[in-house]
Amino acid sequence: MLLCNLISIAERVGAPRIVPTRGIPYPTGDPSLTPEAEKAWRRRLLDRALEALATTVHQPTVFEVPEEARA
């Protein structure tokens, strides 16, 4: 599965499982947060990544991290 910010490109090249991130230079981070909150955000990204890996897909599919879960 793919964690990235440029979702349109990921879909265009056919990446099957995509979890959107918050910025190009920090796919598994968010420097605007405190270190603790950033690590919690990273955990949510990875939890969503695991859900994507366990899901059957037939085409490029975006697995958003639920909005209410965002730090």
Partner: protein
């Protein structure tokens, strides 16, 4: 009449296979192997005055020696050629290949053509668009060949057409089978942009949904892998194109246009310390990544997932390349190699971070 030098490898020169792949460059007067058919196709207007062949293992590393051999070709006593722009003893054009999808041969053809171009000759190479050597040709024209040598005949037809056109000093276009980097030229269009935009809109409305002035690269269809049935027992790998490497970049990973990928052990680490790791990616500011490498490679949370039982284990190494200007052909190769390696190592899933 134009004078052409043809570059081929040891196999197509009829010298041998891998046993001869270490042979240095050799000059033979006249056409050899596929050059004979190429000469027929070119007709009496043009002549393959010489063939230079070299072994696949060494050719791409000794291109200057190959160029020196071409320079040594002395046509008509070295009095020069009948075609404008000819230099170097009357040679007008250097043609290389077809190299099909052969990596070493394609790399050599691309580099020989590029160096010949730099030396002032017209030059063209022939290879399949998936050949990893393609990008090495730079702005020197490359025309598509078939995938394998079985497609020699149509590949030579296209190469001959390209040679003929170049010798008329006409640019090669996609219609000629040109692949790889296309030089962008300023030309006078026959209508202003607004008119062309309306024309294109009308063409599209009439049912041609692919008409365009700017063809975009084509990408593969990817067949999604089946889901992982039980992640709690699965080994999961962390991989990245974010250019994250040990601080001194011991493998000299490129910051752009990567030609390789690297692997580093993380099996004994619970976290990646700032100052010990660095992103050398040239496509974005790496300050955030260097302040906390987990922003590129989430090892800290990966360990959490294992401790919490969410995944069985983490693969003891991570794979890394730089996805900045990297050719699709190289990226495809990295992906194939990563998948094969991880499958062999027992990993069931990979989490790829991309910048």
């Amino acid at each position: 009449m134009a004078n052409i030098v043809h570059y081929i490898n040891q196999f197509f020169a009829g010298v041998g296979g891998e046993d001869s792949a270490g042979s240095g460059p050799t000059l033979v007067m006249g056409p050899v192997g596929p050059g004979r058919r190429l000469a027929e196709l070119l007709g009496p207007e043009h002549e393959i005055v010489a063939t230079v062949w070299c072994g696949d293992d060494v050719a791409s590393g000794i291109v200057p020696a190959i160029i020196d051999l071409i320079r040594s070709v002395d046509v008509d006593g070295g009095v020069g050629s009948d075609v404008d722009g000819g230099v170097g003893g009357g040679v007008d054009l250097v043609a290389a290949g077809p190299a099909f999808t052969s990596g070493r041969y394609g790399l050599a053809c691309a580099r020989v053509a590029a160096a010949a171009h730099d030396a002032g000759w017209l030059a063209v190479a022939s290879m399949h668009e998936d050949n990893p050597g393609l990008d090495e040709a730079g702005a020197t024209p490359v025309v598509a060949s078939g995938e394998v040598a079985r497609r020699m005949a149509p590949s030579l037809d296209r190469l001959a057409g390209a040679v003929t056109k170049l010798l008329r000093h006409e640019p090669l276009t996609a219609a000629d089978g040109r692949i790889g980097k296309l030089a962008r030229l300023t030309v006078m269009a026959d209508a202003r942009a607004a008119e062309r935009a309306v024309d294109l809109a009308l063409v599209r409305l009439a049912g041609d949904h692919t008409a365009t002035e700017i063809p975009l690269p084509r990408f593969d269809q990817v067949t999604p892998a089946a889901p992982v049935e039980d992640l709690t027992t699965a080994m999961v790998a962390l991989v990245t194109e974010g250019g994250l490497v040990p601080d001194d970049n011991p493998g000299a990973l490129e910051s752009a246009r990567a030609t390789r990928w690297l692997r580093y052990p993380i099996g004994n680490l619970d976290a990646l310390m700032a100052g010990e790791w660095r992103s050398i990616h040239g496509g974005f500011s790496t300050a955030y990544a260097n302040d906390d490498p987990h922003r590129i490679l989430p090892l800290d949370v990966g360990r959490q997932l294992v401790a919490d039982g969410a995944v069985g284990s983490l693969f003891a190494e991570y794979f890394v390349t730089t996805g900045n200007g990297t050719s699709v052909a190289n990226a495809r190769r990295f992906g194939i190699e990563w998948a094969a390696d991880l499958r062999h190592s027992g990993a069931r899933a990979a989490i790829l971070t991309a910048t």
